[in-house]
């Protein structure tokens, strides 16, 4: 018997809603999980995904993808490719494995919530595939990272990171709990599949894949490309949800996009920014982080939301200015507080690298060069101690990243300014105006304490650097250090250096 055409059977498998006779609709789809809000319940009947897939098709495609990824992995298992990778690139992968593996698992929970509470049968169907996707991503990322533990114990943080109180995963937990665990499914579909997966994962999975290939890490490139093919499918839960929400409640739609875009942009500045502009060896860099953001995120994302009748987020100018500063300052912070990391951040500010940075970011020398020069002179004066932290950076109460965003003053000097807020008897500090504004509007949803809050509340004992590192779960064999100080300081040896700290060695 000939198979029926897709259009003859598709509606049977995707339109599976019916009218309940024995329970109220509210009992099956409670508002606190479903979040229909101002959207009439029947409006969700129009929900329709662009690319339709059946379960047998899904299984066949996924099987093929899995076979292909593991075949490459098996072929490379006995090669010495890993040993030849640059330490900077290895750091990018350690950061990725630790930062992403369990976020993929959190995404399983988010997809499952949509698979249960999504307001249309087709949506629930798509989310069922989505949770299978995310489970595959959690498994594949954990498995690929786990294999490298024998070669370098820092890879153990692939599975460990999210179980620690290190400040980086606290920041990520804060972002992704807000995006995947806390929201109702309407907000979730716009925050995760629409803003994060459509808007941002391209950057990590497509652009970073190009850097991976160029750096010789075929296995990693293969893994993240395979993951990205799933994202492209399940991220389409966002569009139809947004379309319906915009029609009935455009103000809410705009707010959900604005806040999740901002949170995603802050996290990517901290992780992808340094990986692209510093950790990837100079000769292997395809584009700067700013160029990647402009090409892969900004043009495409703005075009997309304008197509839905929405506007650029209110913080757009602040965000665009930040493309020249956020990730450079965060890189300096990651480097200075390097014992708190599970990778080896390389400073990557040799003369050649600085020339590249200054070409891509014309203000780089003015804003960051002076600080790196003092750090370089300290290293060359055998005063590494002066380049190690004795206190905590102040962490933003919204994004949990260091408050380190310089803007130009009227006198031309670049300074980090304070964005404080007094509320309920205490003072909060934020890294940017937009973080402050989002926190204020969303304050009842912000549940994580920053490491500064925990430290001042006495949760970290003893109250010193050793106590902090222990609280974060960092043991001496894992904590980060620069992999090669000479690589970026040797260009400057022998120059006259004044105004250095007098601790440690000669100065």
């Amino acid at each position: 018997m000939a198979l029926r055409k897709r259009e003859e059977w598709q509606h049977f498998v995707r339109e599976v809603d019916w009218t309940f006779k024995y329970v109220d609709d509210e009992a099956v789809f409670p508002e606190w999980h479903c979040g229909t809000g101002k959207v009439p319940r029947e409006a969700w009947q129009k929900w329709e995904e662009d690319y339709k897939v059946s379960y047998p098709e899904y299984v066949a495609t996924q099987r093929e993808k899995e076979s292909s990824v593991y075949a490459v992995k098996a072929a490379l298992q006995r090669s010495s490719a890993f040993e030849t990778l640059d330490e900077g690139w290895k750091s990018s992968t350690k950061m990725h494995f630790g930062g992403v593996a369990l976020v993929e698992y959190a995404a399983v929970l988010g997809e499952l919530k949509m698979a249960r509470f999504g307001l249309n049968g087709a949506w629930r169907n798509m989310a069922t595939f989505g949770q299978l996707d995310e489970l595959r991503h959690a498994q594949i990322t954990t498995f690929f990272g786990h294999e490298l533990i024998g070669r370098d114990p820092q890879y153990d943080w692939t599975q460990k990171t999210f179980h620690t109180n290190d400040w980086v995963p606290i920041s990520l937990r804060n972002l992704f709990d807000g995006m995947m665990i806390a929201p109702n499914v309407v907000d979730l579909a716009i925050e995760l599949p629409f803003t994060f997966e459509t808007g941002f994962t391209n950057l990590q999975f497509v652009a970073l894949s190009a850097d991976a290939l160029s750096s010789g890490d075929v296995n990693f490139a293969n893994m993240i490309s395979s993951i990205q093919t799933d994202e492209a499918r399940h991220s389409q839960q966002g569009g139809p949800t947004l379309e319906i929400l915009v029609e009935h409640d455009p103000v809410r739609a705009q707010w959900i996009i604005d806040k999740s875009f901002w949170g995603s942009a802050r996290a990517f500045a901290a992780l992808t920014g340094p990986a692209m502009d510093y950790y990837t060896p100079l000769e292997h860099r395809k584009q700067s982080y700013r160029e990647f953001m402009e090409e892969w995120i900004i043009d495409q994302f703005i075009r997309t939301i304008e197509d839905y009748g929405l506007k650029k987020p209110w913080f757009w100018d602040e965000f665009m200015r930040g493309l020249d500063t956020w990730h450079h300052a965060l890189h300096m912070g990651l480097w200075y507080w390097r014992p708190t990391l599970w990778w080896r951040p390389k400073a990557a500010v040799s003369k050649d690298e600085r020339e590249w940075l200054a070409e891509k970011y014309p203000n780089w020398e003015k804003v960051y060069g002076d600080k790196w020069d003092v750090l370089i002179d300290n290293i060359n004066a055998n005063n590494v101690e002066a380049t190690l932290p004795e206190t905590l950076p102040w962490l933003c109460s919204m994004c949990h990243l260091p408050c380190c965003n310089a803007t130009q003053s009227r006198d031309g000097v670049w300074r980090v300014r304070d964005w404080p807020l007094s509320y309920d008897g205490r003072t909060y500090h934020f890294c940017t105006n937009a973080c402050r504004q989002i926190w204020w509007k969303d304050r009842d949803n912000v549940n994580h304490e920053t490491v500064i809050d925990r430290f001042l509340a006495g949760q970290i004992q003893p109250m010193d650097v050793g106590g902090i590192l222990n609280y974060m779960g960092l043991s001496p064999e894992v904590m980060g250090d620069d992999p090669d100080y000479a690589a970026w300081t040797k260009d400057y040896t022998g120059r006259v250096a004044v105004g250095l700290a007098s601790t440690g060695g000669e100065s």
């Binding site: 300290n378 980090v416 304070d418 001042l456 105004g499």
Partner: protein, 98 residues
């Protein structure tokens, strides 16, 4: 009969500050006490940055709080600086031109 104690009679209290030193790239946590003078606060903030990330300059260091420059002998309590407040420490370059 009870006597109200003045600020100067009370035991020093810990005052954790959000601080930034001159053109440094990041705000930092710096604990001081209510009894510390502004000169001591400036030194405590500078300890983490001066000569480490910002090149040391041969000028006095001054504390700004809520946009106001505070005298070097004034204490944290007298200045009304509260826990979690922000302070900025700058070099007093006016000395160089005077």
């Amino acid at each position: 009969m009870t006597v109200e104690l003045g600020i100067e009679d009370q035991a020093p209290q810990l005052v954790p500050l959000n601080a930034i030193f001159a053109t440094d790239f990041v705000q930092i946590l710096v604990p001081v006490t209510t009894a510390n003078t502004m000169r001591e606060v400036a030194a405590a903030v500078a300890h983490h940055v001066e000569g480490k990330r910002v090149r040391a300059l041969p000028f006095e260091k001054v504390v700004f709080h809520n946009g106001k420059r505070l005298p070097p002998e004034m204490t944290v309590a007298e200045a009304g600086i509260a826990p979690l407040d922000h302070v900025r420490v700058e070099y007093d370059r006016s000395e160089a031109t005077s």
